[in-house]
Subunit: 404 residues, 2 copies
C-alpha cells in the first residue's frame, strides 16, 4: 500500500461534472489500495471573481484581508469535492490549510511554507478517510490566514508529500505530461516518460508552464517523486525525479518564450565598474536579467545589451534612467519582436557539440541568432519573434528523433 | 467610551455599495469614541448559491462538509467589509469564527455555542482595530468548522456581546425597529422605543421576524441590551431589555400568523388518557402543537381540535394515522383558511380585562373567533384567514392609541 498525494488545479474542478471526474480518479486510487491525500485549487474563475469583488470596494486592500478573501475559494472547492467523494460512497474529510497544519511566514500574498505538521492528515488517513486539503493557503504564527501566491497549490501538494513521506505526488493538469516541445505547435513532439528536477526547473522557467518552479525546487530538496499527468486522459504521465535513464537523448525539451524584451545601452564609457553599477541597480529594483551581451562600441565606448521579461521593461528603463553616468546615453528597447528559444537537457553536460548542433539547425532554417546564453543543461538563443515557431521545430527535430 | 457590537445581515452587505454603507456606520461609531466589534452574515444570495452548487454534486452531502462549504460565505463578506473600512482609513482586522474563539458542540448545521473565548478580539481592540467577525460559524472540539443554523449571525453577535460585556448589541435590519403591528398593513402602527425580552420572544415566535429567537433567549440569559435598528435609515431603533417603562401601554404588538393549520379529530372515545396518547405521539414526531380545544361530541365521544404550523400538517396526519384507537375516526384538516392573531404585552399580567377588550374589538369588526389561547403576556385567537388583516387593525387600534 502506497501513500499518494494528488493535486488538481482550478480548471479540473471548474464545474460539477469535473468535480465528479476528479472524485472518480481519487476514489479509484483509493480503491486500488492506496492512502490518498488530495490537494485542490479554487474552482475555475473563483479567484478572479473574488479579486473583482475586492476591486469594486478598495483598489488597494491590505494583503492580509486579500488572503482572507481569496482563501475562501479553496474552501468551497474542497467541500464540493468531498461531497462528490461521499456521493461515490467513500469516507472522506476535507481540511483547510490551518487544519492540515500548514505553517507559513507572514508574507501575505506570497507566504513561504515553514512547516507542515500534517498531524490531522495522519489521523484522518488512519481512519481510512480520503483526505482533501485546501491548496494555496496556510496560517502564520498569529493564526492569520496566508496564501502562497501563484502556483501555490502545487507547492502545497509537494509540501504534504514531503511531510508525510508520500510515495508519489501526482500533479494533474490539462496536458498529459511534459513534452519535448509544445505538441500544439510541433507535430513530432513526444511525451517524456522521465525528466530530472533540474531539467524540469529549466523548462518551467522557460515557459513550459506545466509545473510551478517553487514546487519543483521543493520536490528536489526533499526528494519527492513527482508525476505530471492529465485529469482528462487516463495514461501514465511524466515522472520528475533526481536521476533518470539517459538513453540516447541529449535534450529533453525545446521551449519558446515570447514574453521577453531586449534592452540595449549604446555607447557607455569604457571604464571599470560599469556592468556592476548597471546590473546592481537593476537587481535592487528586482529586475530579472537573463542573457547579457557586452560589445566594444565606437570611440572607446561599450554597448551593453541584455534581456528581461517584457512586463519588466518599464521598471528596467526607470532604473536605468536613475543611473547618473547613463544620462544622455541612448537606451534601445525591443519588447515586441524578440523571442527566446531554449534547448534543455542534462545530457548536454557530458556530450559536447550540442550547442553547435543547435546553431546548425537554426542556420539551416535561415534563422538569425541575436544573443546566446548557456548553462550546464541549457542553451538559449534570442531570435526574431516571427521565427520563433519555426526555430522550435528546427531545433526539436534536430535532436528529438534520436529518442527512439 | 463604550464597547458596541453591531450585526449586519446578508442584505445589508449584498453589494459593494451596501458594504461601503455598512463601513460608514461602523467607522462613525468608532469615530464617536467607541470600541466596535462587527458581526456580518454572508452576502445576499451567497449561501443559496453555495447550496445550489452542492446540490448539483450531491443531494445529501454530510453536514460537516456543508458547514465547510457554507462558512466560506461569511469569510468573503468579512474580508470585503474589512477592505471597505480600510478604504475609509480606519484600522481594522477581520476574524473567522475559530479565530474569534467561537467554540461550539458538534451539531453540524445547527451547532450550539459552548463558549466564546474572545481572546483575539480583545487583542485587536487593544490595538485600536475595528474588529469584524464572521457570524454563523464556529469550531467544535475536533477543530472542525460548524455553523449555527438559521439566524445564527444574530446569535453570534449576542454571544460576543455577552463574552465581552458589551454595552450594547445593535442588530441592523431592513426595518427601523419593532413595531406594534406590521407598518405596511396597519397605518397607525408605531415603533416601540423599548420592549422586554419576553415580549420580544412572543413577537418573534408569532412571526414578527425581526430577531432570531435563540439570540433573544441568549440576550435575556446574559443580560445583553439589544437594539434593533435600520442599516438604511439613521434613527434610534427599539431597545430590547429586561425591564421597560410600562407607561399606559397594555400591549406591545399585534401579530398575524398565516402559516397555521387547524386539525380536528372528530368523535374519539370519551375515556381517560386520550389527550395524553394523541399529543404524546405528536411530540414524539416533533410536531409543535399550539392551541388545543377539547369539546364534548355526540354519543359519549369527544372532539379534539388543535393548531400547528401549516408545513407540519403532513407529519401530523401521519402521526395520527399511526394511533390504533383513531382508526376509522374522522380527521379534518384546514391549512388554507385560518390565521392566528396575537396581542402581546407584559402589561396584561397586571391589568385584567385585556382579553375582554380584544374580544370586544373583534366582535365590533364582525370577526368570528374559532379558538382562543392565552399565556401570561399573550392572547391568541384563531380566525378566518380572510379576516386576518382586518382583525390585526381592529385589535391594534383598540389598544395602541393608549400609548400617547
Amino acid at each position: 500500500m502506497s501513500l499518494i498525494v494528488q493535486k488538481f488545479g482550478g480548471s479540473s474542478v471548474a464545474n460539477a461534472e469535473r468535480v465528479m471526474n476528479v472524485a472518480r480518479i481519487v476514489t479509484e486510487t483509493s480503491k486500488a489500495g492506496n492512502d490518498v491525500v488530495v490537494v485542490v485549487s479554487a474552482q475555475g474563475d473563483t479567484t478572479d471573481d473574488l479579486i473583482e469583488k475586492a476591486a469594486e470596494i478598495n483598489k488597494k486592500p491590505s494583503k492580509r484581508e486579500m488572503d482572507m478573501l481569496l482563501s475562501a475559494g479553496e474552501q468551497i472547492s474542497i467541500a464540493l469535492l468531498a461531497m462528490a467523494v461521499e456521493k461515490l460512497g467513500f469516507p472522506v474529510c476535507s481540511l483547510l490549510g490551518w487544519q492540515a497544519g500548514f505553517q507559513t511566514n507572514s508574507g501575505h500574498g506570497s507566504a513561504r511554507i515553514k512547516k507542515v505538521t500534517g498531524e490531522r492528515i495522519r489521523q484522518e488517513l488512519a481512519k481510512k478517510n480520503i483526505v482533501i486539503v485546501a491548496g494555496f493557503q496556510g496560517i502564520n504564527k498569529y493564526d492569520d490566514i496566508t496564501t502562497l501566491g501563484r502556483g501555490g497549490s502545487d507547492t502545497s501538494a509537494v509540501a504534504i508529500a514531503a511531510a508525510l513521506h508520500a510515495d508519489r505526488c501526482q500533479i494533474f493538469t490539462d496536458v498529459e505530461g511534459v513534452y519535448t516541445a509544445d505538441p500544439r505547435k510541433v507535430k513530432s513532439a513526444v511525451k517524456l516518460s522521465e525528466i530530472t528536477y533540474d531539467e524540469m526547473l529549466e523548462l518551467a522557467t522557460l515557459g513550459a508552464q506545466v509545473l510551478n518552479n517553487r514546487s519543483v525546487e521543493m520536490a528536489k530538496k526533499y526528494g519527492v517523486v513527482l508525476e505530471v499527468l492529465s485529469s482528462m486522459v487516463r495514461s501514465p504521465g511524466t515522472i520528475v525525479k533526481e536521476k533518470t535513464k539517459m538513453e540516447k537523448m541529449l535534450i529533453r525539451g525545446v521551449t519558446k518564450d515570447t514574453n521577453c524584451a531586449r534592452i540595449s545601452v549604446i555607447g557607455v564609457p569604457n571604464v571599470p565598474g560599469i556592468a556592476y553599477k548597471i546590473f546592481g541597480r537593476l537587481a535592487a529594483k528586482n529586475v530579472n536579467v537573463d542573457i547579457i551581451l557586452q560589445s566594444v562600441g565606437r570611440n572607446d565606448t561599450k554597448d551593453i545589451t541584455f534581456t528581461t521579461s517584457a512586463d519588466q521593461v518599464d521598471q528596467t528603463v526607470e532604473a536605468l534612467n536613475e543611473i547618473d553616468f547613463l544620462e544622455g546615453i541612448k537606451i534601445e528597447v525591443d519588447d515586441k519582436n524578440v523571442a527566446k528559444i531554449s534547448a534543455v537537457g542534462a545530457g548536454m553536460e557530458t556530450h559536447p557539440g550540442v550547442a553547435a548542433k543547435m546553431f546548425e539547425a537554426l542556420f539551416e532554417a535561415d534563422i538569425n541568432i541575436q544573443m546566446i546564453s548557456t548553462s550546464e543543461i541549457k542553451i538559449s538563443v534570442l531570435i526574431d519573434k516571427a521565427d520563433a515557431d519555426k526555430a522550435v521545430e528546427a531545433v526539436h527535430n534536430a535532436f528529438i528523433p534520436e529518442i527512439g
